[in-house]
Symmetry: C2
Subunit: 349 residues, 2 copies
């Protein structure tokens, strides 16, 4: 990009508008930012200035405006991905809610790269963000420390950081309810009362351990023992999940608790490969939401994190600053999927 297109005139400023209107830059500024009634500028002048601004295609220079104002109204967010139902929904909802409150949302996507995350935090501070929400970041505390030093508030979303208030899903309760649902469906459809297989996630990951706790709790309620070999917690990646499933011997009928749609891709690939002994009577539930995954015939239910609910809490914290509680839990939404009403679709003959 060249610096200028050469023949394109400089973008008009309030000085240009003032000259055209035969008034002062102060008056133009007041009219254009809505403080003109307070300054008792005549409605006639206000109207004329607005008209001229419109004609000249005027747009305020936010860099200048923010530099001068005491508040930037910029709120920053760091997400690991957009290309993901959950984080996509978070980013979208955050933007909508911020705008509704007259704030300027600036979102950055850092693909779980710790260095990029830190650079993004620095950039958002440089943009004069008033607060920074981080979600899915690998090192939230480093970001919080940096921001604190710069006087920028941070909130961790769906992350249990220790250096900032956090808003998290009730992973325990959500997992317990999903586990109950799967157990129930195994019983009603197959008459089974066996412990489930837990698949996906990382042991060090707080969300995974909370979900595992809920999973075990539901088994305990039913008086079911839960052998450790039925827990595959070897990462979220589909390939790892698939490989781990291949290595273990599984019963004829099986219920699976899948810890994310990422892991679910691995589970389904494994199911689809018919070249080995897989359980004949299979059902699963998944802690995550995806509309197409909801259509898989073995799926009995999905647990959706309450994005709207969590962001309501986040904006509540922003507004009630600095009296934010350290941590708030938001319940998840269980979406049961009814058993198919009819026999299977046609298969290749």
């Amino acid at each position: 990009m060249g610096a200028e297109t050469g023949d394109s005139p400089r973008r008009p400023t309030i000085y240009d508008l003032a000259q055209i209107a035969g008034t002062s830059p102060s008056a133009v500024s007041a009219v254009l930012n809505g403080t003109w009634k307070k300054r008792r500028i005549s409605e006639k002048l206000a109207r004329r200035i607005s008209q001229i601004a419109e004609e000249q295609g005027y747009a305020v220079n936010l860099q200048a405006s923010m530099l001068r104002r005491e508040r930037s109204k910029v709120v920053g967010m760091i997400v690991p991905k957009y290309d993901n139902r959950y984080f996509g929904a978070i980013a979208e909802r955050f933007e909508t809610m911020a705008r509704a409150r007259g704030l300027f949302p600036v979102i950055t996507c850092t693909r779980r790269d710790p260095e990029l995350e830190f650079e993004a935090a620095r950039e958002l501070v440089s943009f004069q963000a008033e607060c920074l929400i981080s979600t899915g970041t690998t090192d939230p505390d480093r970001i919080s420390d940096f921001c604190a030093a710069a006087g920028v508030r941070t909130i961790n979303l769906d992350l249990p950081g220790t250096r900032a208030p956090s808003v998290v899903s009730d992973n325990f309760g959500g997992a317990r309810d999903l586990t109950r649902l799967i157990l129930e469906r195994m019983r009603s459809e197959f008459g089974a009362a066996d412990p489930l297989l837990f698949v996906g996630g990382r042991a060090a990951d707080n969300n995974t351990s909370e979900r595992l706790r809920g999973f075990l709790e539901a088994h305990r309620e039913m008086g079911l023992a839960c052998p450790p070999e039925l827990r595959i917690v070897a990462g979220y990646a589909p390939g790892k999940t698939e490989a781990a499933l291949e290595r273990i011997a599984l019963p004829e009928r099986l219920g699976i608790f899948v810890n994310s749609t990422i892991s679910l891709e691995g589970v389904v690939h494994w199911m689809k490969r018919g070249d080995r002994a897989a359980p004949r009577l299979l059902r699963f539930g998944c802690f995550d939401w995806d509309p197409f995954a909801a259509l898989l015939p073995e799926n009995v239910g999905m647990t959706e994190q309450d994005v709207d609910g969590m962001l309501d809490v986040v904006f509540g914290m922003i507004e009630a600053w600095p009296e934010s509680p350290r941590r708030i839990e938001v319940p998840c939404i269980l979406r049961p999927i009814p058993a198919p009403a009819a026999p299977a679709q046609a298969q290749p003959g």
Copy 2:
């Protein structure tokens, strides 16, 4: 948010750093923005200044910096959604590529709301964006006109706007290839040689009409007539698609060309409801990509738009400005899905 936390000290400026270092603000500025070698500042001083900046948690004020510089390096993008595989991938890739070029990407999500789109364009101009990429917007020409008046360049991505250069998928070729694939699979799996059903999209939508053209072309090649009643172009919404499918009589065996994953949701809901006469031998292909949709057993292939390829072209245009061609087409990527290797999974008994 209160204006200040009261006890938090003002964020340090180059004046503060200069005072601590016992030098001038000019020197600090030069060191911090990398122009110090040109100014022949001693390496010793440069090192000391950097050190102090680090200690003080200094972060440049981009508002001030951008205001003073001739270039903002901000590149804006308007997308309709983040919560969508395609647009999520576009946003994510755009951000990565812009950063790699030392630019500041600012993305706004406008949920197909024409007023919001226009407000977003105005806001990006106010942020001094040097160019604006719009994709999936309802009124790209209005945005282009406004930006042109403000001296901001626009590029339409996957949109055939008339007022700005555009980068679009080869919808014709992509649809022709996908249609060929479905026809081929209907023949090899079921021995069928019937015309396909086209489902989804809007007739007024350029992408839909191009895809329909490719669909018809593939039929023509095969010597197949293509009766108009086998084209359901009543919008993308899943509900509309499902309702339209219910209203028509369909043959025992059927191949379907589905015009987006949005419409595909409707098709699959219709397939899953077993309470009416649906085709027994069903296959479909879909012009869009989704990993779970790819797992549906009737799916023979999906056409992915080449997001990386399109954005390469977009950044090429940005850099080669103002010699941009009016319109560039980028081929799509066909992803065939092999027929299942084994018999169907267990169904409820």
